[in-house]
Assembly symmetry: C2
Homo-oligomer: 149 residues x 2
DNA sequence: AACAAATAAGTGTATATACACTTAATGTAA
DNA sequence: TTACATTAAGTGTATATACACTTATTTGTT
């Protein structure tokens, strides 16, 4: 569906304005669709994001502030997200031996298990959500990277 | 900056996955930058969005549920956003004469004034935020519209 | 060593999102 | 007309974002 119909707006001041609105709308569309996958596991999109970052560590611990650096939303609060995941038994906190200000975070078996259960579903969902061919997806990635300068 | 550096992730499972992550990250980047413009007026991005919708009515009233339909985030709560704007004196609520369940919303002088003060700044910001030429912006809009199917 | 600056994590508060729910008004069909 | 379903708005609660702030620890400078 074209953006104009989706938000019932006849025209935009210019293509730049439309692009920004289009990005906001498309992202919200994706969040809504993706959330359905996470919900059965009691995960929010950002909690899932933190788990993915932890898995990417392949066993080595990572501090709370490094998680924050890697997050999609730089303003989100890694400290509280980690606490939520800990309550679900998907991560553990450990005092960092070399710097007692820092806290090392590790993903647990349970966390890894949830991710692997989600893996195939996510892959399929991504393909159905993004109605583009391979060439177009690459083009989109290039445009987004260039957009941010 | 390429997405890989921005979120310190070496690789993605495939381009489709990268595109989705890229959209989330780029949207968050835009929200952060745009919020700075709204803040001096005590507006959040979604409150600004509601004001834009009301201005688009060109004087005719619109119900809360129609505002919801036109919003970028379909899950946001138009009722509460309208209440916040009313407290700032930027909109008024009126009982709908033909259907007492509905509530007509109108933008006030003050709301219009805030929007016009923001207009030029927004236009400039959009140009600097979106580091693409005219052709590329159109391409991006086409890809986003196509992506959603 | 002493002290200020910087850093890491976490807290407090306002706003917004997500979703189930309530209440009031309207529409529809027996 | 009564009864039931539908619709519009708003409420309640959990989560997340945004941003200022606190506390504890470490670093760096004199």
């Amino acid at each position: 569906m074209r953006l104009e119909e989706a938000i019932k707006q006849k025209e935009f001041t210019d293509s730049y304005n439309k692009a920004i609105v289009n990005l906001h709308y498309t992202q919200s569309y994706l969040v809504t669709k993706q959330s359905c996958l996470f919900k059965p596991f009691g995960l929010s999109p950002e909690q899932y994001n933190v788990l993915r970052i932890l898995r990417g560590q392949k066993g080595s611990p990572i501090t709370v502030s490094s998680i924050q650096d890697r997050m999609l939303n730089k303003m989100s609060n890694a400290s509280r997200l980690v606490e939520k995941l800990k309550q679900k038994g998907m991560v553990v906190r450990e005092e960092c031996p070399t710097d007692r200000r820092q806290v090392d975070i590790l993903i647990t078996e349970k966390g890894m298990d949830v991710l692997s259960q989600l893996h195939n579903q996510m892959h399929e969902l991504n393909r159905t959500l993004v109605q583009l061919n391979g060439e177009e997806v690459d083009q989109l990635n290039d445009l987004l990277d260039k957009l941010r300068g």
